[in-house]
Every structure is written in C-alpha cells, then in structure tokens.
Amino acid sequence: MRPRERLTFSWLLLSFVLLTSLAGIEFYVFVQLSAAQKGQLLELLFPYRYFILVPILILLGLIIFGAKWVLENLWLPLAQLTDEVELLFSSRTSSSLTSRVPLHFQRISCLLNEQSKRIEKLQKGIESKISQAKKELEQEKNVFAALIEELSEGVIVCNSSAYILLYNKSAQELFVDQENGNTAENTNKSQLGLGRSFNTILPTPRLKYTLNELQERHRLGSSHLVQHFSTWFGSKLLRVQTIGILDPENKLSGFVFICEDLAPHSSDYHPHEVLELLHDEQRRASIANIRSSIETLQDYPEMPTEKYRLLMKTIQEHSVKLSEQLTHNPMHNKAELRVLCPLELTPIQEWLQSLNINPERPLKLTCIMADSSQTWYVQLNRYFFSQVLEFLFQQLHQLLHLTQLEIRLDRKDQFIMLDICWQGKELAPVELRNWLNHPLRSISEDQTVNISEILRQHDAEIWFEGLPDSLEHGLRLFVPCLDEMDPKFELKSHINLGSRPVFYDFDLFHKTSLSKKWNEVLLTEATYTVFDTETTGLNPAGGDEIISIGAIRIVNGQILRNETFSQLVNPQREISPQSFQIHGISVEELQDKPLISQVLPLFHSFVQDSILVAHNAAFDLRFLQMKEDSSGLIFDNPVLDTLLLSAVIHPNLDKHDLDTLAQRFGLDFKQRHSAMGDAEVTAQILLELFPMLNSKRINTIQDAQSAAKKSYYARLKY
C-alpha cells in the first residue's frame, strides 16, 4: 500500500472507531435505564437537544479533522524524515534532508543536516586514509598481477570448491569456446569468470579425479599436492598442472591450475622427442637387420646363392621400411600417448593408501608394505594406473568370486613389486592376456587406450604368480622405481600462502558460500548477474519481443566491468513507436543481428551459478519465460528485484523507479535506456541497498526475497 493511501485508511479507521465507540457508550447507558428513567431522560433532554448535539458534533469534528491534520502534517513528514535520515546516514554519497517538514521540526532537520555534514567530513578523512592504504596494497597487487599476466601459461586460481578467484589473460584466451560460436558483441568471449565453477568450464572426469585425489592426499597428511593431467578443450589439447594451496593453518584453501595448450606443438618434435626417435624400436630393428645382413655378407662372401639373395633382400626391404618410417612419422601416436598420459613422480605407498579408500569396491583390500620406513617413488599417472588396478580388482572379484585381496609392496633392485594376492583358485594366463586388451576410460570419447598400452607407458610388466600346489596366488606388477627424488619436486609440491608476501592475501579464499544453498548465502557474498532488456513493446504475452540484453556480473561485492554480456537481437517484428521513443533502437539496426533463439543459450550460460537481478524483474523475466517452450532454456536462478528491495528499505517514499533511485544514491547513467547502461546502474543500486538491508536485519538471499514478496510492488504482474 502506498504511504498516502495507508494514511487515508488509518484516518478513516480512527474516525470510525471514535464514532462507533461514542455511539456504543451512549447506547449502553441508555439500555441500562428503566422504562420510567428513559422517559424522564428523554423528557428532560428533548427541549435542549440542539444545545447538546451541536457541541458534541463540533467536538467530534475537531477530533476527526485534528487527527487528519496530525497524520498529514506530523506523522507522514516524520515517517519520510525517518527514511531520509536513514538514507542520509547509510548512503555513501553526499546528500541532505529535503523533505518538507513542519515548522517546529525544522530545527531538528537543520541539526541532522549539520550532524550529517560532520559525519561526512569524518568519513572522508577515514576514506582518504583507507584509500591511501588501498593504493599501496593495489600497487603490490599490480606487481603480482603483472607477473601473472606476463606468464605464457594460463593461470587460474580457485578456492577449495573449484570456484574461480583469479585468472590471467593467457587463461582467458585458452578457454574461448570457438566451437560453440559465441556471437555476443562486446562480450567476454572466454568461459572463464570470477566466481564461476572451473568444474563446469572443464567438465572432464580427470579434473574431478585430480581435485579429489589432492584433497585425499592432503587429508592423509601428504605435502605432495601437485598433479598433472591432459585433456581436450574443444580443439585444444591442454596440459593442466594442479597445485594445492595451503593456508597458514595448513588447510587446503584452494588450487592453482597452470594450463598449457599442447596442440600447437603436436606436429613438431621437441628436442627430447628427437632423442626418443633414436629409441624407436622399429627403427632399431630395421637397422639391426641391415647391419647383421651386411656383416654376414662381409664375413662369409662364399655363402650359398640362396642365403646371399635372402640377405640382400633383407637389406633392400629394411632400407625401404626405414625410409617410410622417417617419412610417415610413426612416433606420433606414441608421443600423443605420452602427452595424454603424463607420468609424475609419485610416492607409491601414499598412492596405495589413497587407493585403498573406495567405499564402492566390493572387495576388501589389505595393504602390507615390506618397508614402511622408506618412501619409494615411481613415475606414475595416477588416473590411468588407478583405473588399471580397479579393473583388475573388479575382474578378480567377478571371475574368481574373491571378496578379499592382499596388496604387498616390495622392492627388488630398481623395481617395485606390487603383488595382488589371494587365496583360492588360480588365474588362467589367457584371462590376464584378455584383460590387458581392455580399453580404459580415456580423455576423449573417440580415443581409447588399453591396459597394455598404459603398462608400456609406465615401463611396467604384469604376470600371474602361482604355484600349482599352493592355494595362494597373485598378480605381480613390476614397476621401475626411482632412486633419488628430483630436488625440484619438493619445491613445487604445494603453495603455502603463509610463506608469500602480504599482497598475496586474497580474502576470497575463505569464502565458501558459493557451494552453499542459495537461500543461505549472504547478500554481500553472493554472485549476481544484473541484467536489463529492451523490447519492442510492453506486452510480452501479446507478442512483444526482446531486442537487446545487457548484463554485468557482481562477485564478492565488486562489479566486474570486464565480465559483461551485451547483445542486440533481431526481433523479426516491428517496434512500437512508444518503445522506439524510449530506447531509440530501430528495426533497421537489428536486421543483421542474431535471433533470440541464438542469443538465449549464450545468455543462459552467462547467468549460470548466479542470482539474477533486475529493476522491475517481473517485466524482464516474463520475456524470458515466454521463450521457455521454444528454446527449452529455463531461467530458474533465484531472482532479486531492486525495485522491490528499494520499497522494502523506504516504504514511505513514493518513487522507486530507476531514475529516482539513481538520483537518490547519486549515481550517473552512462547510457540511460540501453540494456547495458541500465544493467550497470541497477548493479550499483544493488550494492547501495546492501548496507540498508543489513540494518533491517535482511542479510541473506532468502531474507531479501521474503521481504520483497511483502512489498506493495510485488503485486505487479505482466
């Protein structure tokens, strides 16, 4: 209810109560009298009726109109004054009381204005000191940012829930989804964005596996929190190095991802690959054949003609084969496997312990280490090698109906012997051979890699060990062991925030709200997409269409001006003259623009994992809802409306339109009635509203939504 309507209603109610109470009292007294007394009273009063009634009516009138005067001239101005005082002391912009106040309150108004100016002066002093301190901090941050910016690798820093806190330009360029043809204009075409989930951007099981693995390693007390994996992102083959970040309390507070596109190098050989060429087994075999044939011919010139011909044929065939091998580059596949399945130094005991924890496995594992005092390191790809072991466990369970396995770990010279032992039936060699051809989950759908290839990549061997007269059997995995650790290994094992200079102190690390349920998230900590639309008219149900969408993100209380969405849309219909007058966009301008069916998926992806905010959101949302059936895209994000929130804060102020709010908070429009310009101002209004909402104990998204629902404006429907 608007303030003036509420005032009229209160006044009418007061008058009604007054009149009915008076009449009620008189009626009650009258019915208490006896018939004789009633007659006497009427007889006594009747001649003086006008002298009695007129003063009573005058008195009533005075009371009723007096009340109206009090409500209009004291209560309403005071209520408005209260809202203005609240605004005066909570707003960050310079303002003074402007409400018309009765003469006797003007002194209070003047005093409040003076007080406000004094506070403002003090605030400015504090702000200038804060700004100076921030400037110094900013300089240090800039040095750090410049350092990261200069790196050719893409660097992404995430919190422990894999939500992005920081990324550099190279990362932004790496994660541009060219295949989906992002057509938005002036838009951050990269999928990266602060507060977005890295898991959503890179939806590979390798990433999830790596994060779980590092968390598990950290839980088990390991300080080795580095892991590599390779994966495809569109046409790019990325090598991702993941490093855990420990806070001063030694808690795992986040991850750094260092990403490199390997695809540009895949056609070239690196120097170490040239060396690898020399090791190529096929070439070695061909050269061996040629050499042994030549040497035999030299040593035995008198050999039989048939042998002579055979040796000459060998030389000729293998020279051709060698030439073909050099031309056709047979190392490519091998090099690719090395890229896809990179090996890293791994403490094998620790890896086995982490492997032991798998609640879904039907088998019980017992690990026995021959020497627990020493750490043995192997070159391992945990993702693939764990799959190999899980597959073997599963097969042993299914084929031999085993429920218990014992893992024994021992070392012989340069090798680790990992024995998977069981009591019971033995395993036929042919079974093991079939298992080795089993394809594993790989990094892309069209690419598979089998166990045998993975073992070869690890230089590992596997065989069945069993004695015919014994009940104990085993599979032995023979994996090369490393004698000494690479000294660099320890240095790069994790990043410790406590050991870094102060400019590395990101508050964002401690924010875990992103993983909470929406309604519990604090207003100041949530991620928002503030948007606005321009349309062909005001009637979405009557066929009016969107012609422009503008959106900007707010993360951790900051407007991200480099993470925006701005797109004109071809509505395929006329624009009403009234609407044209407002936004000034003509149909001709929109002829070559994409259709809403092309734009909505991009916008849907842009608003993912955020709260939608708009001014008078019901209007803009109605347009989006009208497209749900045709696009199949549902915008089910939680919604906040700045119009409703303003009405919640200042229920006694009449106006809550965008222009009034901008003026009230001292904000300037870059471009009024452009979707992007309006979205940006709405974002600033939202930030201005937060402290006021907090002072009314509206702290979470749910609080804000519940309060907004009760607001008068929530009744507007489109």
Binding site: A285, N289, T296, L311, H318, K412, D413, P480
Partner: protein, 127 residues
C-alpha cells in the same frame, strides 16, 4: 657334441643372418617365432643358450626369461635378450629378470658371436 642354441625371434629378416652365423660357428641351431613354441622346445631340447627377442607376439621375452629363471632345471641355460628396447629401464628389467646379456639392436654380429662364444665357454654363477 655341438652346443645347442635356440633362437626365439618373430622377425624372419634377422633370423636369416642369426641362424646362418650360428651355424657357421658350428652350433646346433633351432628357431621358433613365439614364446609358447619356444618354451616347448626349451623343455624338450634343453638348449645351452637362448637368443631371445623381447617383443614377441602374445607373451613377451621378458616373461619367458623370468619363468625360465624361476625354474631350477634351467639354472645353467644362458639367456641373451635381443631387443630394440634401448633404454636404461629396459636393460635394468632384463637383468632383473635374470638375462645373462642384454643386447640392444642394432648390434654388431661379430660382437654377438663373440658374446655367445664367451657365455658358452663359462659356467653360470648362481650367486
């Protein structure tokens, strides 16, 4: 009585020269092209020396070598691994599996003949 040599190699090109060379040295030479057949021949013929390729179909030379070394009947049988696997880790693996020599392709046939001769003129030390 000539010493018996068994060549287990699936590449016929190198078998031609190896077989010829060993015959010229006066050895009794037999050839098989896979590990299964090779194992049968070994158990029947008890060769003094085996020239064993590592990259064999189905079962690797490493595995056959390991199995023979686990069987005391073949304590005195010399095993020479012939391989195109030229890295240190492969060499280490060959030695760990009990090979007497690990010869990386391409090799000198003259050196090979000398190695075979040296191995056959000594007894295998079991310690």
């Amino acid at each position: 009585m000539p010493k018996k040599i068994l060549i287990i190699e699936d590449d016929p090109a190198i078998v031609v020269s190896l077989e010829f060379l060993m015959l010229q040295q006066g050895y009794d030479v037999q050839v098989t092209t896979n590990a299964e057949e090779g194992e049968k021949t070994i158990r029947q013929q008890m060769p003094d020396l085996i020239l064993l390729d590592i990259n064999l179909p189905q079962r690797s030379g490493f595995e056959l070598c390991r199995q023979l070394r686990a069987d005391s009947n073949f304590d005195q049988t010399r095993i020479v691994l012939l391989t195109a696997k030229g890295r240190e880790v492969d060499y280490q693996k060959g030695i760990a599996f009990g090979a007497d020599e690990y010869i990386i392709k391409p090799f000198s046939t003259r050196d090979l003949v000398q190695t075979v001769h040296d191995l056959l003129s000594t007894t295998r030390n079991l310690i």
